[in-house]
Symmetry: C2
Subunit: 325 residues, 2 copies
């Protein structure tokens, strides 16, 4: 199956189950950015992030026997919730391996969706090894967070919607900024846009210190991050670009953009005031890049994917206290 | 023109200018409410509330001469912003009369949309008299916040969308809870549902102490509020039901629902955690009623219109500090 056919098939299976999230704008944000800014509000997706799309696409692609045996996933929280809810709605058992420093809300929600949560130490332990061992012992199907074609296809449905909404809103040429961890959403959107809206150019956005994809794109070979943790943008901290995702992103993406944690927090405060959206830091880096990297962006329009909103109340209050006004 | 024809005409003029806001759900909210809860996220509308619909409908219905002379409106803030942005996009001069105790954000935004803001004392002065005097002196067309057929028609486009979205989501019978001040949105939605989805029953929702519409519906005659101010729900504090809106709501609405300011604040915190939406108190009363008045609601589904999100950061933080978790 071609990449776009796989995305279309995922879109068919997701119809009626995922939210078609709106593409929102604000004249106040346009003024800051120096161009029209459009925000794809994936924080409004089920489970509070785009990850529900990939989780549903992967679980719904399994055979009945595989679903009955169950699934396993490792995640800092958003993939966890996406897979957990998708599994629950398919009545499939679900184990989720999460870092012990993941936001409390994400751990609690994953459990509330009915998953069995196994915690691990992000710095000392290897989540892939833990996942492989549990999968083998219980006959679970491992659903990788990004290096998995069905997950990439599910995330790619976001790109199909962006292509449609750009036509509706009269957006012709634009950079499409995507918060990027392992690169699954970026790759899915890139494949969808390649087929449906080639004048929209995908670009990964990352936090400072965890800009492995930007450096990999610039150098032409896979670069790793020096640290495993230490950004507010926990949702998009991964060790290196994915083996499946990076070649796609290398072929289709423009240069990566990098913002500071502080700029992500400013974007959170602006999304509160101007868009009435709740974003988490890792879900706000693309908007931060749209607002604060105007000289690195081309065209009269820019689209930023706001990928998630699973933020603890105290951190959100910190953003409002220091950056709202 | 029939009421539904006027709403359809407004919908045609609004196409491509208003946001088709999503109807969002959360299994966590369903559990609290004891039924499926659907939230019509009008806080995501331009200017942060549904009022943009009515403002646009009214300004776009004027003659070119009327638009050139300009418009005037009085409002605690959301109608102000809706009319101001609609006027600006039609290049019409705009004067807005606002109470001096309106939220700072609403006053600042109204000015930023290009309107001339005139402040008055909500308790001592009569905004209608001020509006009439200025309108006469400058040849401005007064756009009333609710007792105005074109405004009601614009707000009614929310009801057209709810009717369509209910079909898409498989919602057959439901109470549709609407945050209610003067009753313009309630009346517009009621007229749209009467024609397009008669199994959806509109019901006004109000804050304690300002439940004029609920008491008027119960008694069969127009009742006034004892006080002119003193609720967190500033957006929906009006002296009495409208002369045009009340007969419509009396004919078409189920009984009114009343919630406390504290319940509205709890709904704000839940919308933050579960829907990733920013609501203001007056925009959260319908969701509060959906969540905390289960015994007064009928059916397996309930739809709550989240009418606005223009809340100052400090009040939002109060909601998170005391009611999130």
């Amino acid at each position: 199956m071609s990449d776009i056919a796989r995305i279309e098939a995922a879109s068919f299976r997701l119809a009626g189950h995922a939210v078609r999230t709106p593409l929102l704008g604000s004249s106040f944000l346009n003024e800051i950015a120096g161009r029209r800014v459009w925000v794809k509000a994936e924080c409004l997706q089920h489970t509070g992030s785009f990850k529900f799309r990939g989780g549903w696409a992967a679980v719904s692609a399994l055979t009945p026997d595989q679903r009955a045996a169950g699934v396993i996933a490792y995640s800092s929280g958003n993939h966890a919730q996406g897979v957990a809810l998708a599994a629950a709605r398919h009545e499939a058992p679900c184990v989720i391996i999460m870092p012990s420093d993941a936001p409390r809300l994400k751990i609690a929600n994953t459990r509330a969706y009915g998953a069995e949560v196994v915690l691990y130490d992000r710095v000392r332990e290897n989540r892939d090894a833990i996942g492989a061992r549990l999968a083998a012992a219980r006959g679970l199907t491992l659903i990788r967070p990004y290096d998995e074609p069905e997950v990439i296809a599910g995330q790619g449905t976001t790109g199909l919607e962006i292509a449609e909404q750009a036509v509706e809103l009269g957006i012709r040429h634009a950079d499409v900024l995507v918060c990027c961890g392992g690169g699954g959403l970026t790759a899915g959107i890139a494949l969808a846009l390649e087929s449906r809206a080639p004048a929209l150019r995908p670009r990964p956005c990352e936090p400072e210190g965890f800009d492995d994809t930007a450096r990999s794109l610039a150098s032409g070979s896979v670069q790793r991050n020096a640290r495993a943790a230490g950004s507010l943008c926990d949702a998009i901290v991964t060790p290196a670009p994915g083996a499946i995702t990076f070649p796609i992103n290398q072929r289709l993406c423009g240069p990566g953009l990098v913002v500071s944690d502080e700029e992500a927090m400013r974007a959170i405060a602006l999304a509160f005031t101007r868009l009435k959206l709740v974003l988490e830091p890792g879900g706000a880096v693309a908007l931060a890049a749209a607002l604060f990297r105007r000289d690195q962006i081309e065209g009269e329009d820019v689209i930023a994917v706001a990928t998630g909103g699973n933020i603890d109340a105290d951190l959100f209050q910190t953003a409002l206290t220091h950056y709202a006004g």
